[in-house]
Point group: C2
DNA sequence: TTGTATGCGTTATCAT
DNA sequence: ATGATAACGCATACAA
């Protein structure tokens, strides 16, 4: 009850009612359903409200209706370049619909996702969880409480938008094979990540289908540093091309290669994923465009849909991710693993 | 009263009270002032809460106390690499203090800053505005309504944290001069930006002090592309070193130079600013560490301070930004006469 | 079309 | 140390 001092208390609905000579309900309706009221009373109430400087109290309204006009977006790490565009897309769409957005940074920690979900639940009409690491059962519990949309996490019956980078990875392998590569390395991301699982699987299948050799190098975390650090291991495989889990790792690999005097793409071809900083590398990185901004946008749209209909959409929304060929892929070096000589040499 | 269907209601304080065999007041105290309660009851209540999955309803709490428990952070562009670390820092600090944060993306538009300020005001105890472009008078109006902290905008009497990159820029010039450079270019950012004004001024003064020649190239917007596009103009000056407005521009310049076969730092030294992606470039970029995460953190601290004391702090908080020498600066090429025209000594 | 009465979940005041 | 209960400001069944 103790309001902050030094600031004049805002007028309440009651005071406006009294000033306008109507009931509080009428004042309430003036702001929520004016059409249910006579034109004259609406005007009278509005005038009184104006005079007193009345503005509906959002908090009280939220408590009463359960509708806060807010949504929450929770991401594992704001600073990971994958998320800012996604945040931006979500933000923009929410804003269009008149929603304000809470941003939660889970700090890559499932437990923190859980806490944020709990703390924000009351102030929010729904959630968008980007690449959550939370166990499926927890996810389901939260999804029961509040409308909830996942991004890049595939849990049956809970609304989700999935970026189909798998097809892009397959396309990347095909692209490399077409260039003449026969030995490729996939540098993986977190094994718990849905995205990584998809990409790794797709790479394996594509390799099998095209009959080339595919090695795999694991990174603990998908960072620039991790990419840099796996360079030696990568070179040791003797592969002529590498597909990295994401652009960040690819960028690290490129730096590692550069510092070892291995030219890209002359000696080694590099493919990234996500297209979040690919056009800012030198040479410009061949990558898979994940359209993260669109993902954020679509996720919010899904949420708005649920909010309106009350019914969750159980089939995933898929965003196609296509290969973008830039300047880090080329035919393998002549001397290297250029195996059976078909036609051209 | 009509809650959306299909979703389970969150447990209330009353249910926890019943489950724990205490009154609602006791449950309330368990979460707000546990020290006023006996250790045993606290544990008992906590256990019951845990079991039921109870989390205090912030909205109800806000209605009762008048304190929303939220703050808003407004940035010009989430996707600009300068801001994610700042957001992260702010977020973390707010979270520690039990505050949730709204994120507003103003889309580089002053008018949108104004709108966001207005829309969020009701749900928020205070604001942090990062690098706002809003006119000073508007800023003051909003600052009158709600506690408000600025980052990288110097308006008298309104609380602000300023990243002092000026000193860093001076240090950068000194560093280059010490290496033997006598002709440097400053590639500027938006003229309306406080940061750019500081840096440009500092560069000029340092050049004057050391008696070297300083040219200036203007970029419309501080982007990778802008940096890339000014490369020819840069080379045409005949300078042996360049200080860019920020890392993004510097990275663009490095790409532009690379594609023109100009080795860095052998032919041209490059210095960035902010240190937001400097260690991810190749070669690693010499830059000025702005400590943006700390800036976000300090800004929130300032805000919390105001919230607690009720009195705004009128003197700015300054964050020192120091030069970080990495691998893009070196002595100028021997035949330092890369001048297009002869003549200058 | 408008008024009455009640509930939303919590904190704070006053007791005990 | 703990309980009972009145606000907090608004929206909505239910009446009229």
């Amino acid at each position: 009850m103790s309001k902050p001092p030094h600031f004049s208390r805002a007028p309440t609905i009651g005071e406006v009612a009294q000033a306008a000579g109507v009931s509080r309900a009428t004042v309430s309706r003036t702001f929520s359903q004016p059409d249910r009221l006579s034109e004259t009373t609406v005007q009278r109430v509005l005038a009184a409200a104006e005079r007193l400087g009345y503005v509906p109290n959002q908090t009280a309204r939220a408590l009463s209706t359960g509708r806060a006009g807010n949504i929450a977006l929770i991401v594992p790490d704001v600073a990971n370049p994958f998320f800012p565009p996604l945040i931006r897309g979500a933000q923009a769409r929410a804003d269009e619909a008149g929603y304000a957005v809470f941003l939660g940074d889970a700090d890559e920690t499932p437990a923190r996702e859980d806490i944020l979900l709990g703390k924000l639940a009351a102030q929010v009409e729904g959630f968008v969880l980007a690449a959550p690491r939370l166990p499926e059962d927890r996810l389901r519990i939260h999804a029961k409480r509040r409308p909830l949309v996942l991004i890049n996490r595939d849990v049956a019956n809970i609304p989700r938008v999935l970026i189909d980078t798998a097809a892009g990875v397959a396309a990347a392998i095909d692209h490399l094979v077409a260039l003449g590569h026969r030995h490729i390395v996939y540098v993986s991301g977190p094994s718990a990540s849905w995205s990584n699982q998809q990409r790794q699987l797709a790479a394996g299948l594509a390799a099998e289908r095209t009959g080339i050799r595919l090695d795999r190098i694991a990174t603990h975390r998908p960072t620039y540093l991790a990419g840099q650090e796996c360079t030696d291991e990568l070179l040791a495989t003797g592969a002529t091309a590498v597909v990295a889990f994401d652009d960040l790792v690819a960028q690290g690999i490129m730096a590692g290669l550069a510092s070892r005097g291995t030219p890209v793409p002359a000696s080694l071809s590099v493919v990234g994923c996500d297209d979040v900083l690919a056009e800012r590398t030198y040479p410009p990185l061949t990558t898979i465009a994940a359209h993260c901004a669109e993902a954020g946008q679509r996720a919010v749209e899904l949420l708005l849909e649920m909010l309106a209909s009350g019914a969750p959409r159980t089939t995933p929304v898929t965003i196609a991710a296509e290969l973008v060929v830039r300047a880090t892929t080329a035919p393998p070096p002549r001397a290297a693993s250029r195996r059976p000589r078909g036609g051209h040499g």
